[in-house]
Point group: D2
Chain length 272, copies 4
């Protein structure tokens, strides 16, 4: 039609070749969302596992994600530096990721929250960030995991002071002003008998999703909600060949990804 | 933390000031999605009304959308040329829009599809397109409505030939090859007694959402699913002042938006 | 060759269609450049006319510039909102503009500075700015001309105090701190008998270049350095048709472009 | 002033951190420029050396260029992956580079072309290309040097056939159609007694500029036009510390940069 010229107003926002592409999404106003839906404080395992379930769907469905990391109301997906998915168009990458995540959140809500009724559909933002080197990609993931640690230690201590210590929120805030990591560990231990390092790893480390060869025993041993079913993995991929994709499954880990060990053990993640 | 430097890898993708900002979303692989969920052919009113319901949520929730237009598996949202929402960041605009739409789609599925079970969460892509002038914005909307007309006339004739005329899909395709608008109207009328212009307007014109002063009688007269409730409209807006937002509601229309009449009647849409 | 894949790392930086494209260039470290080459203070007419000469070359050579405005060490070139020159690629537009301007500066130096030897080749930066409406384009040009006025009034008063009033630069600076337009006019008039409004218009208004039909008498009456020769105007243009380009010449004006009069008189500049 | 809001229409086009930034410039219509100024065919050493002289100025003046490579009417400048010069703004990098190059071209013309009068100021385009890895940066430089080889072998054979072989240009073109590297070497050797590998390296390899410690004897031994004077190197740099910049000079080489040897010998170029 004579109106078709408006197509030329679209821009091609292809990402620079050969960079790691990270899509990070984050829940909009989850402070309010968690209040309205009575999330447990400081951590609601149902919420965290629902987030992980959604991320698994994204990873199984969207080609070429090599690792994903999530904590709180956010998740980061790393597309392989050579992915050609949707011509590396940034808008396609972020909108497919975030819309599948958001629809999955409602789709799976019942499995995790049971009788707690979902009051309104949640929203997430998303952004694309590019990393030219393995080093800065790893620093990015470390940044998010360090953030998880800092927030979680604070929140754990804060809610211990409030829930067990009987302080008001503003008193607890005052008490924690200017404290360092050691101080908070000390408060938890001496006042509440809590060894922070014994807290569940899913709270302290967040959730890391990676691909695992399906032959490995661990896959079938993991609980069902943590492993995407193999038959979900059939979608077309531009970067990974069929044979590479066959026989693999997504596994969820709650481990340190800042140190070298994880990356030594899983060299395939960043491999070419 | 020492990893925080990676923040500097993010880019600010603010849209050029003073341009109309369109976010268009489109269902991913809805050819398959409509098959799996047995959408009626050529048009499934449940699907179209569900799309409209989701768009209403977006419009009520996301500030500064002045008009939205949808057809088939797509919807376009027009943000006011002076919107300052999220600093006009393109990624924020498109991901909030598409993720709220996608989560709403699952959230409201039951209201429209009843016993038809949703088999898997749907995905949508989205993109931002900028238009410097009112003229090219209107041409954009005309482009989408002309597309609706062309596809719908084709599909209506195609499925008449198949469902009522007993042709196989490939025979119907062959029959329609090279036909013009008049030819298809003629086939529909002479062979199936169908006057295309009497087909439901929601199929022929798509769905247009605009804001209406709440005082107007029409608002309360419209069926509930077509009008967003006034109390949903309380979210903060950067462009529209409180007084402007109060007392208005979203209404769904199925009218021609290519000609001058619509724009003459609704001059407030493009007003400064 | 097998290295050719690196071509895919280039990005297409085409400007949004239907926006006015402004390329502004500005001399790098002209504070130092003007010192080294003993520019007259506060204004060196040789320098300003050399700048204008270079801009004329740019305008005659680069297609589709409809107006240019310069003052001090800067010049802005406005490409027509429909120009298709070099596919509207921003990098092509700014680099061709700035490199022709810079090479012309050296090329024409002798004509304006005579025995003052050019000590080193000058550098300019350049940038592209887009304007969706006529209004904001005009506000842009007004911004530059207002800047010219503000700086020139200050500099004129400052150097009067120093050169004629015997103040040291820091005394003059102190004297002018916090003064308004009226104050400076008053100082000039009462202390130095200078009516600022009688100062040369090239200093107060800057230089505006536009196209003029060659038939008009004014063209041939203007001094040669101010009018580009008709036979320089033969270069290919993507936007303007041959017949439009024939018989026109660039003229330099030193007039107010903030008010309505200029634009009323020259409606062809912003015409479609 | 009230017009200042237009500043917000400028965009920040900072390059992605941690990528190599290449600015490549290329003469506009140098086919015509070389004709008008009677460049020698197939190679005009004066032109090539003038290009090298301009590039030296750029390298000495613009901070953080670690290597530059030129051939024919083009030059590529590689800014260090960590440069913070002008906030890595792409427009600043390309326009400063290209405008200094263009003004230098006119400035130094006389030194190389003597009585051949410069008829009009030349123009160059420029673009920014980013490379995330050392490998793709090297492939980029290899691409340009391979291009130099291919064109030069063709041109050398073509002009031998025309100038010495008495063929018309179109006959020579016909003769070379479909020939491979070996064929052209053979024509040159058997018909014109020319051993292509003995042709001047500046023609076959192009010109590579790098920094060298000033102590090294080679610096002072090189002819003056090939080595930028130390006292030109005083300009501020954001990436290199003063002590790193002191005592170094630009040297011009005409060597292979595709193989490993060059990079083994000059590991400092890509060093962090
Ligand atoms: N109670 C509870 N709250 C949680 C949990 N996970 C996340 N949240 C809440 C606490 C934080 O207020 C919020 C995440 O912080 P954000 O910085 O993303 O803020 P928020 O989403 O409110 O605003 P935003 O729209 O992202 O700017 O989500 C949880 O497991 N339990
Ligand atoms: N039966 C039926 N199908 C519909 C209806 N609305 C949309 N669809 C289907 C028919 C089309 O195949 C599809 C929309 O066309 P698209 O060009 O968006 O293709 P699709 O979504 O398959 O691929 P995409 O991922 O967008 O490239 O959705 C409906 O009301 N009834
Ligand atoms: N004496 C004299 N100086 C002039 C004349 N025109 C421009 N200049 C000088 C005065 C200013 O210091 C300078 C222009 O100001 P800018 O803000 O562009 O600063 P400058 O070029 O030094 O730095 P930049 O590299 O643009 O950030 O050029 C003139 O006619 N006479
Ligand atoms: N005779 C002669 N010509 C040269 C020499 N170096 C470059 N040239 C000419 C030959 C080519 O036609 C031209 C460079 O090719 P380009 O692909 O850059 O084409 P040109 O600059 O004409 O067009 P452009 O504006 O870059 O698209 O410069 C030389 O040393 N001698
Ligand atoms: O949302 P914040 O405050 O945690 O920080 P951010 O996500 O980097 O900020 P923004 O959402 O505005 O990009
Ligand atoms: O999806 P299509 O084929 O209708 O056309 P498009 O949406 O413009 O194409 P793309 O989704 O690839 O941008
Ligand atoms: O150069 P200035 O300070 O006049 O202001 P600007 O040109 O807007 O700043 P920049 O050159 O850094 O874009
Ligand atoms: O100029 P060409 O044809 O050698 O190739 P290019 O420089 O890649 O093309 P363009 O100048 O149009 O970017
Ligand atoms: Mg945020
Ligand atoms: Mg959040
Ligand atoms: Mg968060
Ligand atoms: Mg599409
Ligand atoms: Mg679709
Ligand atoms: Mg569609
Ligand atoms: Mg500046
Ligand atoms: Mg300057
Ligand atoms: Mg200036
Ligand atoms: Mg080119
Ligand atoms: Mg060229
Ligand atoms: Mg070239």
């Amino acid at each position: 039609s004579k109106f078709e010229y408006v197509r030329s107003y679209e821009v091609n926002d292809a990402c620079l070749p050969n960079c790691w592409i990270v899509v990070r999404l984050d829940g909009k106003s989850f402070h309010r969302f968690s209040d309205v839906h009575s999330f447990r404080k400081p951590n609601d395992e149902r919420a965290l596992r629902l987030m992980g379930r959604c991320a698994m769907r994204v990873m199984a469905e969207l080609s070429d994600v090599v690792i994903a990391y999530g904590q709180s109301d956010e998740f980061s997906f790393v597309f392989h530096r050579r992915t050609a998915w949707f011509g590396r168009r940034a808008s396609k990458l972020m909108t497919h990721t975030v819309s599948l995540f958001a629809s999955s959140f409602v789709f799976h809500w019942l499995e995790f929250f049971g009788e707690t009724v979902l009051r309104f559909p949640p929203t997430f933002d998303a952004r694309v960030v590019l990393f030219p080197t393995d080093r800065c990609l790893r620093d990015y993931l470390s940044w998010r995991q360090a953030d998880c640690h800092i927030n979680n230690l604070y929140n754990t201590t804060f809610w211990a002071l409030v829930q067990k210590g009987g302080l008001s929120p503003s008193q607890a805030q005052e008490r924690l002003k200017g404290t360092m990591t050691g101080d908070k560990n000390e408060i938890l231990f001496s006042e509440f008998g809590t060894n922070y390092n014994k807290e569940p790893e899913v709270f302290r480390k967040g959730t890391t999703l990676i691909w695992q060869k399906a032959e490995k025993k661990t896959v079938t041993q993991l609980p069902k909600t943590q492993v995407s079913r193999l038959d979900e993995l059939g979608s077309a991929s531009t970067y990974l060949s069929k044979s590479q994709k066959r026989h693999r499954a997504v596994v969820a880990l709650n481990v340190d990804i800042i140190g070298e060990d994880f990356w030594q053990e899983h060299q395939e993640i960043l491999a070419d």
